[in-house]
Symmetry: C2
Subunit: 329 residues, 2 copies
């Protein structure tokens, strides 16, 4: 990342670095366990990188309403732990071996440890939430957690078929991704005792941002980026997971034989198939169409943010909206 | 079960049948999901039988202090959902194919569905807890949930070796079983606004009862019961899981070659090995010794119960203590 032009995520991180340091310390403290393997697996995954976008959103939305974070630190740690728990379980469900350029926990310690440590992180998240003694945030995050799992199951039962409609795709990403983005924003404001009128706007802002992030993630899975080394592409493709670019390309009605042979036949690991898919996307401006659909969420994110009080952090959040559809990683 | 001499569990069920009916209705309602598979798997496991001892304890401990259950129904449903979620994840971890005489969810729908639906049930449990708006019960159950997962990981890392000490065995069952028994009892009283002085006694009663139940479960895994058809024995043995009977038998120092060849070599599925294990237990009065160790918890359970107010349900709970070490199923 360039120092002269930091990404909006980096800008948020810079503004909130003191609070994020507290979040990291608190998270490390709560990963402690008398059972060695729990701590080992937990540290591997929680400290394993990632953009930390959810805890940053909690802290940023908190900063919109107050200067000292207070229990927002607990909530930021909790949302990252919930997210991390779902990653551990996802890797078991997807039988993944690599994440963020590292071997996955299930690859290193087996599915068993991943399932159980995921449960542990989830419980630790709830303990942190309970400590805030705020029933509203408990409700918001418990609802988000239930939504995430419903989204994951819907993905499991629907997303491996070319029958997947754009509508069901949006339902899936709304539940599995946008719900936690929305709650991460909402609870940051709630714990700051903002006016309850603003709650739907924080939620709406976070939800729209989550939709945009997931759409861009699904695009990036098909975009090679020679500048950033070690980026693996085609994970969804080789796993047979149907995402928005595939839905839109398949709906064109041309090259249906290619899509059907890959997603309905024996999914191959042939890199030439991935190249072919990418060139079909490019030839048909599929990424442009995806971004156009995401533009709807961009508008909603801006509309909701517009209702929230202006400040430096507000500007950072506004920049984040624009960046969500441009980011390359 | 004989009608003339109902078991203490049946007696509790009879006394609390109206409340248990509410618990079942509420649980079924909360299993509803727009995602069909979630509901299907959830119903399979939640309605798949089992003794329902945890929700009965919540309702019974509530009845010690008030006549109308109120939110105790929510909590009883929540503890059963937490328990059920751990069963779903356990079956993935243990790679089990049968539970309670039925095929397991992972066998029917795959590990993926079991992991995700387990997460869903866990989230639903937290939603129910949040609805009670009682931060004390949220704290108690969040702590229990974290303990359970630590216990499961400790079991995973320690319980497949003959090095397992009785002390570590008791640590494991305290976390994986007794913690939720304890919290199930405690929250039943807390939601009835009992005097806070009594909280440790409800917790201590439930914890001791949980220890006794798990020890008896581990004994019953080695006891054939010709009367109850379809009971499978030797699950722990064939899985290579070391439990109290094995620890005590191995510590005798006789027949160590047999135990080492089974638990350190390639674990076989030979029924003659199981017969040999059982006859060694019988020859050395191992089950008697296990029950003697459990007697310590029996005393503690009685001591704690003694501090709680007398009533019909109190008598039922007292009978349950005695029964815990005699039950045959």
């Amino acid at each position: 990342m360039s120092v002269l032009h930091p990404s909006p995520i980096q800008a948020l991180y810079d503004t909130l670095s003191a609070e994020m340091h507290q979040v990291n310390l608190l998270t490390l403290e709560r990963l402690k366990s008398q059972v060695n393997l729990v701590e080992q697996v937990g540290r591997h995954i929680v400290m394993g990188g990632g953009k930390r976008i959810r805890p940053l959103l909690t802290l940023a939305c908190n900063r919109l309403f107050q200067n000292k974070p207070g229990f927002a630190v607990h909530l930021a740690s909790a949302v990252e732990l919930i997210h991390t728990a779902t990653l551990l379980h996802d890797d078991v469900v997807d039988e993944s071996h690599m994440r963020r350029g590292k071997r996955t926990a299930n690859d290193l310690w087996g599915n068993n440890a991943s399932v159980l440590v995921g449960d542990f992180l989830f419980s630790r998240a709830f303990q942190l939430m309970v400590e805030t003694e705020n029933l509203g945030v408990l409700e918001s995050l418990a609802n988000a957690a239930a939504k995430i799992t419903e989204g994951e199951v819907l993905q499991l039962t629907s997303a491996y078929s070319l029958d997947l409609s754009a509508q069901t795709y949006f339902e899936i990403i709304s539940a599995k991704t946008a719900a936690l983005f929305a709650s991460s924003c909402e609870v940051g404001g709630m714990i700051a005792k903002m006016s309850p009128d603003l709650r739907p706007h924080l939620y709406g802002f976070g939800h729209s941002l989550g939709m945009m992030f997931q759409i861009q993630d699904d695009i990036l899975d098909y975009m090679s980026d020679s500048a950033s080394s070690g980026k693996t592409i085609g994970l969804d493709f080789f796993e047979g997971k149907v995402t928005l670019p595939v839905i839109l390309a398949y709906q064109k009605g041309t090259d249906t034989a290619f899509w059907e042979s890959h997603f309905q036949g024996q999914t191959t690991e042939d890199p030439r198939d991935l190249e072919k898919a990418i060139s079909l996307f490019e030839d048909n401006n599929i990424f442009g169409q995806c971004r156009e659909m995401a533009g709807h969420y961009q508008e909603k994110a801006l509309e909701n943010l517009d209702k929230l009080p202006r400040s430096q952090i507000w500007n950072d959040l506004k920049n984040l909206i624009g960046y969500s559809l441009d980011r390359q990683f």
